[in-house]
Amino acid sequence: MSALRRHATIALAIARKDALAELRGRQAVGSTIFFAALVLLLFGFALGPDSGRLAEAAPGLLWLAIVFGGLLTVARLHQMEADDGALEQLALYPVDRRAVYAGKALAGAGAMLLLGGLLFPVVAILYGVPLGAAWLPLAVTVVLGSVGFAAVGTAYAGLTVRMRAREVMLPLLMLPIVAPLLLAAVKATVAAVAGDPFGELGAWLQLLVGFDIVMLIAGAATYGFLLED
């Protein structure tokens, strides 16, 4: 078996294991999505009943909710490893760290995609934003946003999982890092919903692609150092 195929097998096995555990422990997935939807509802209260203003703010609020839900998601994917010594065991398997990172990031991106996919209709209904028409660019935005968030989140959750005060440190370290991702995703969503009147959608998607690639490379290169004691 070639090295690359072995890496792919490892990564897929890890992602599959995470997906299985996530879907079986259904409460965790469900409560994260419920939490994010609740955030959207509370934003509605915070910004008042003016539906025009809500629709205008909708893309930003949507992505903030995805970011908050995402923080919980990536943290949980690593917390699962920390229970009953699985993380230490994972570190002791004779496998390439980049493959482990790829697997965890793949699982993270999948969970984020689920979260984003379910929150979009919530926003469409709650804030009265017509999202259906621009589904293709929106889907691309969600995919790119999910991958980027999972790329950073996997590395940073691995960094903080065995740490004191990890509940605070993960958002504290991650939020400034994903600021450009948030910015680009919101702008792309705004542009997509408006039918891209200024032709800037492509630029924002390119920025997202750039972010994803850079962060995936950085995460893969450094994840091994985070697994070690």
């Binding site: 078996m1 009953d84 994972l90």
Partner: protein
């Protein structure tokens, strides 16, 4: 008392072309916060020996095993396994070492079979072999009837059996066991004893930490007793303790700051 035999450790190969020792540690010390769990352990274990690691709670048995397994790094000291520098090349060591820790390292939401197949994949078995190897190991430890139950429903003893099954999936030259008898019933302890015999027969080096001195001593060639993070005494064949080497500050501390 620690033995005071001083030896100059040849790192690759023994003195007369004999194979390098399976385990060769040089003043291993490890601190957790402010307390020293290990204060300088120098041991040399010949390949193929079964070594019992005894001592009271807090003697440093688990810390020593975790360092040998490359799960944690020593604060000071050196470690060579089969002549390979384990601190520099832990990735090589991990292909040869199988480690049973206190924790099972299993995922609660997966079944026993799924957990073990995942482990088999991680340990390098390829697609078609994974299921066969995993199922055989599960049957070996007597968990076949509950193979499709979630590990979350397992008792501590069943988890321990499952963790033992993972050792059977690995192909190690060095097996490290931390309290293998704990939490097991009489039948389970018999299983551990049988495995100890099997590994010994196949010439696999085993280091087993236990409070059940009589049980492990039956299988062991040698006994190492730890106390307060140091080697209190060594009996039997195939193991030698080195002198207490002075603790050498790591290179960065030795460099004087210029003013």
């Amino acid at each position: 008392m620690p033995q005071t035999t001083i030896y100059v450790a040849p790192r690759l190969g023994g003195a007369h072309g004999s194979p390098p020792p399976a385990v060769d540690t040089d003043g291993l010390a490890r601190l957790f916060g402010r307390s020293a769990a290990l204060a300088g352990v120098s041991l040399r274990i010949e390949a193929g020996r079964t070594v019992a690691l005894l001592g009271p709670n807090g003697a440093g048995k688990t810390t020593l095993l975790r360092i040998l397994a490359t799960a944690i790094r020593p604060s000071f000291g050196g470690l060579f396994i089969d002549g390979v520098d384990a601190l520099r090349h832990p990735e090589i060591i991990r292909t040869r070492v199988a480690y049973l820790s206190h924790a099972s390292g299993m995922y609660d939401d997966l079944t026993a079979a799924e957990n073990l197949r995942f482990a088999a994949t991680m340990l390098g078995w390829s697609g078609s072999e994974v299921a066969t190897v995993a199922d055989r190991a599960i049957a070996e430890v007597g968990l076949a009837p509950v193979a499709d139950d979630r590990v979350g429903t397992f008792s501590a003893g069943m988890r321990k059996r499952l963790a033992l099954a993972r050792l059977l999936v690995a192909r190690p030259s060095l097996v490290l066991l931390d309290e293998p008898h704990a939490a097991l019933d009489e039948d389970g302890m018999g299983l551990v004893d049988r495995l100890l015999g099997l590994w010994h027969e196949f010439g696999i080096t085993v280091v087993v930490a236990s409070h059940q001195a009589d049980r492990v001593n039956r299988a062991a060639d040698a006994t190492v007793r730890l106390h307060g993070g140091l080697v209190a005494d060594v009996t039997g064949n195939g193991v030698r303790a080195g002198a207490l080497a002075p603790v050498i500050p790591t290179q960065a501390a030795a460099v004087r700051t210029s003013r």
